[in-house]
């Protein structure tokens, strides 16, 4: 133990010597809101997602930065007693399907493949920008998923399923390509916490509605609609967001939201995962909810040109007039350069990289298996049990054939 600490010391020292990276904040906010189930009796899953959609829009994320995936159209379902509307509460105060709903993926477009393509941005040329997650290293992303799931999987459309491993790999690919700054993952499904248990990419805060072998329950049904309209976990999240995060300047933190989870109300044990976040639990809890649910724009006001507009104006006039001249000059030079570039041998020899470069920076050659976060101590045990089971079958078979063929059977 001590030795390993000693070995870490130089690392710590070098990191101190490095120029400290400027604490950059995120520059944009994105939300990926996914419902994965079809059919009328799953009304509540679409209501969950639409409620969250309404909340993030209320807090300022523009539609162009929200990816909404709805596998079914409850508003136009013939069984809907209130055509054209979706409600997430029996009081039917807020029509979630009102104006300005921009569904990006709809119906049978909501598939595991499309979802993973969306996250990793491996899409074809034909995909419009509005259906892509155009995030960069300054983007905070809220990923919310709801549907029917089980241990380490979430069903899509009753036809296929996404496994926790695939989701973890997709996030790793996003991280590897610097496609997010920080990510808040929320999931409301049965055994939801298993879905984030396989994540291994940094800067993720994850929360889920229920533990392994535990169901996630709906909150209440609307007797006129005829089905349950919202799930408990989502309901209490929304309740918190509606009451505590009133305006975009709210200073409520992620920790406050997580503290509000009450297993007596939710009827399942909501889980939270901090360990992937740099700084751990403390840093993660201090993040503002608005960092994920709102849109932060650090607007820069030009104050210079308000009163003393004349001077800048004059300066700019000069510049732009000069530009006209400059263009022709640049063009000429460019042409000359082009001509010369053909003939010119590259004489500006670059300095060869010195051989003494620190090459002890370790190459991550080892395969990262998705499951590496959970150190499976009984791995060999499991394999041994499996091998024994197979061997046992063969033994029984062999014994059977032996007994059959043996003369002592008579």
């Amino acid at each position: 133990m001590r030795l390993s600490k000693l070995l870490q010391l130089p690392l710590v020292l070098t990191s101190l010597l490095l120029p400290l990276p400027v604490a950059t904040e995120h520059t944009s906010n994105w939300a990926v809101l996914v419902s994965t189930s079809r059919f009328w009796f799953n009304y509540r899953h679409l209501a969950n997602v639409l409620s969250l959609y309404r909340t993030v829009k209320r807090l300022g994320i523009p539609d162009s930065q929200i990816i909404l995936m709805l596998p079914d159209d409850m508003a136009c379902n013939p069984r809907n007693a209130f055509p054209g509307t979706v409600y997430s509460n029996a009081d039917r105060a807020v029509d979630l399907y009102g104006d300005n709903i921009e569904v990006d993926y709809r119906g049978y477009e909501v598939t595991v493949e499309n979802f993973i393509r969306l996250l990793t941005d491996r899409v074809g040329e034909e995909m419009p920008r509005s259906k892509r997650l155009l995030t960069d290293d300054g983007s905070n992303i809220l990923v919310y998923m709801t549907g029917h799931g089980g241990n380490e999987f979430l069903k899509f459309q009753d036809a296929e399923e996404i496994s926790a491993f695939d989701l973890a790999d997709a996030f790793e690919q996003m991280w590897e390509k610097k496609r997010y700054h920080e990510l808040l993952f929320m999931i409301d499904t049965c055994q939801a916490n298993t879905m984030y248990s396989k994540f291994y990419s940094p800067n993720i805060i994850a929360t889920g509605s229920s533990e392994i072998d535990e169901s996630s329950y709906s909150h209440h049904a609307d007797n006129d609609v005829g089905v349950a309209v919202i799930d408990r976990y989502t309901y209490y999240n929304l309740e918190f967001l509606e009451t505590k995060v009133r305006e975009p300047s709210s200073k409520t933190t992620v920790g406050d939201l997580f503290d509000s989870y009450d297993s007596a109300k939710i009827h399942s044990n909501a889980g939270i995962r901090y360990d992937l976040f740099p700084g751990g639990e403390k840093a993660a809890r201090e993040r503002l909810l608005m960092d994920f649910f709102g849109n932060v724009q650090n607007v820069e006001v030009d104050t210079t040109n308000s009163s003393s507009g004349n001077s800048t104006d004059a300066e700019w006039e000069e510049d732009i007039l000069a530009l006209g001249k400059k263009i022709s000059e640049l063009r000429k030079r460019q042409e000359a350069l082009d001509l010369q570039a053909q003939a010119q041998v590259n004489n500006s020899s670059s300095v060869p990289p010195p051989g003494s470069l620190k090459s002890e920076v370790k190459l991550p050659t080892s395969k990262i298996r998705a499951a590496k976060v959970e150190v499976d101590n009984s791995w060999f045990g499991k394999k041994a049990v499996g091998a024994w089971a197979l061997a046992g079958c063969s033994l029984v078979w062999l014994a059977g054939s032996y007994l059959e063929s043996s003369p002592s059977a008579s």
Binding site: L20, N100, E172, N305, S306, S348, V351
Partner: protein, 540 residues
């Protein structure tokens, strides 16, 4: 062989029909001792002929041969994931910054026609010396040269003279004047330095006030660019010793702001100019001529960096997200009515930069009427839209800021700095993408890698090499652009979607029902035959 049942009470006959017939045969041989013997000692089948043994062995072996030589390769071939060979180590080298050491040799030519040849040489040497002393960032260094008529054949560092041939970042004109002064020409990258006659360095002294002055001026001019490039390098995964020491906090803050403000690089940007009016008037604006007059020249000069497409729109009865004549600064982020204003991002494949003119009478607290939204665009509030000139000038300024141009210096210098910073950024980004791809290839063995990815990687490396060799010029930017595009395309290859995770249990579940019925007879047959063979051998 079928004989009749002679003795129904015989226990042997009761047992099995197969045994029954063999037992009967044997009983016929030693008839009188009868039933008791048959019950205790079973009769053996007649020995197999050598031919049938051979036949059986051949059948079993041929089954196995088919399985081993045909079945297994077929199974292997059809279930293997195609993974093209990637030069992983080379890709990692690029990512770590080992393959390329970004160096920006900026050529600065000195025109000193008023000085004697040897004086000019001396000035150049001392200035270069002073510059090298001041510079603590090896990746970005200024190299002075004399711009002289053809008769001067030797210059300080032995490089060919003739500043026109090389890409000169800045020309210094050393002119005699009444007092020491410097002036940056706003039309072209030329710095005028005025000196007093007594400042002409004597050839004996190793330093001179004029040289120090010029060095300091140059350093001031290029400080911002240097800080930007240093920032880029420090945020990349390049080895740390290459980066200079940490910048002072105010510079760091400015750099962070610059990073968060400027758009991510794209070969094409789409500019949308929108007029939003709260009522029915004004319903038109003379945007076309305004763009032609004020925007086009700027866009033309920027065309070596990116292309631009333009569209405009007018929206009537548009209300902003916040109301009131005096806008608070924290409300400004809500000014854009994202829900109702049609500012679609999906025009074409290029990122959109929005410029919004809101025809209302509003003012921001503190007296501003325009603001810039990082990585998104700019907003101007102006009641009267007949004169678009001031608005367009603000938009031009905002555009430069959004593209990441430095704030200080004359326009030509800013543009050239932008080119260098962009090529450095693109180089680092493409290198980083290569590294990401290499790491993913190693980390996700189940992902398939088509040949096109390998081709993209080789294209990237080739152009990265070219860009790295010629950093600082326009050709480098062109190469870096190609490299970055190819790297992105390779990374985001459509067919590389890893959604094929199968736990081991699934594999067992798939293969066991298939292989069980086939495998067990095969293995058992082999074992039985082997046992029989051993028995025969021991019997001999």
């Amino acid at each position: 062989m079928a004989l009749n049942h002679q003795d129904a009470s015989s226990p042997a006959a009761m047992r099995e029909p197969g045994e029954d017939s063999t037992a009967s045969v044997r009983r016929d041989a030693d008839a009188p001792k009868g039933a008791v013997v048959a019950a205790t000692k079973r009769k053996e089948p007649p020995p197999e002929t050598l031919g049938s043994i051979h036949l059986r062995t051949t059948v079993i072996l041929s089954f196995w041969a088919i399985i081993v030589f045909f079945g297994l390769p077929l199974w292997w071939k059809t279930t293997a994931i195609y993974r093209a060979d990637l030069p992983l180590d080379e890709m990692m080298d690029w990512d770590k910054g080992v393959a390329c050491r970004p160096v920006f040799p900026l050529r600065i030519s000195i025109e000193a026609s008023s000085l004697q040849e040897h004086e000019a040489q001396h000035l150049l040497r001392t200035t270069q010396h002073a510059l090298d002393d001041l510079n603590d960032f090896s990746a970005h260094h200024l190299r002075l040269q004399l711009a002289q008529p053809a008769n001067a054949s030797i210059s300080a560092d032995g490089s060919t003279t003739g500043g026109l041939e090389d890409e000169v970042a800045l020309t210094i004109k050393v002119l005699p004047g009444p007092e020491q002064a410097s002036e940056l020409q706003s039309y072209s990258p030329v710095l005028d330095i005025y000196y007093t006659p007594n400042q002409v360095p004597s050839s004996s002294s190793s330093s001179s006030p004029l040289a120090t002055y010029i060095a300091n001026q140059l350093r001031t001019i290029f400080a911002e660019e240097q800080a930007m490039i240093a920032h880029l390098l420090s945020t990349s995964s390049a080895p740390p010793e290459r980066s200079p020491k940490a910048p002072p906090p105010e510079v760091a803050e400015a750099l962070a702001k610059w990073t968060s403000r400027s758009m991510k690089y794209s070969p094409t940007y789409h500019l949308t100019f929108s007029l939003f009016t709260p009522t029915a008037t004004p319903s038109s604006w003379d945007i076309e001529t305004a763009i032609e007059e004020h925007m086009k020249p700027l866009l033309d000069t920027l065309s070596s960096i990116s292309n631009f497409t333009i569209d405009t729109q007018v929206q009537l009865y548009a209300s902003p997200g916040v109301s009131g004549a005096l806008l608070k600064k924290e409300d400004l982020s809500g000014f854009i009515n994202a829900a109702e204003w049609p500012l679609s991002p999906s025009i074409g494949g290029a990122p959109t930069i929005n410029f919004i003119l809101y025809a209302g009478d509003m003012e921001v607290e503190g007296g501003g009427r325009s603001w810039l939204i990082p990585q998104w665009g700019g907003v101007v509030v102006q009641a009267n839209v007949t004169d678009l000139r001031p608005t367009m000038l603000i938009f031009s300024n905002q555009l430069l800021a959004l593209l990441g141009a430095p704030e200080a210096g004359s326009l030509p210098l800013r543009l050239m700095t932008l080119i260098r910073v962009r090529s450095a950024g693109l180089l680092l980004k493409a290198s980083g993408t290569l590294g990401s791809l290499a790491r993913l290839t190693r980390a996700l063995p189940s992902i398939s890698i088509p040949q096109s990815v390998a081709e993209g990687v080789y294209t990237t490396i080739e152009h990265l090499r070219k860009a790295c060799d010629g950093l600082g010029g326009k050709e480098a930017l062109r190469n870096a652009r190609i490299a970055e595009e190819a790297a992105e395309k390779a990374f985001f290859e459509k067919s590389m979607v890893g959604q094929v995770y199968f736990p081991d249990e699934h594999k067992v579940a798939v293969y066991l029902p298939l292989l069980g019925p086939i495998g067990v007879p095969l293995v058992m047959g082999l074992l039985k035959d082997f046992k029989a063979w051993k028995k025969r051998r021991s019997a001999i």
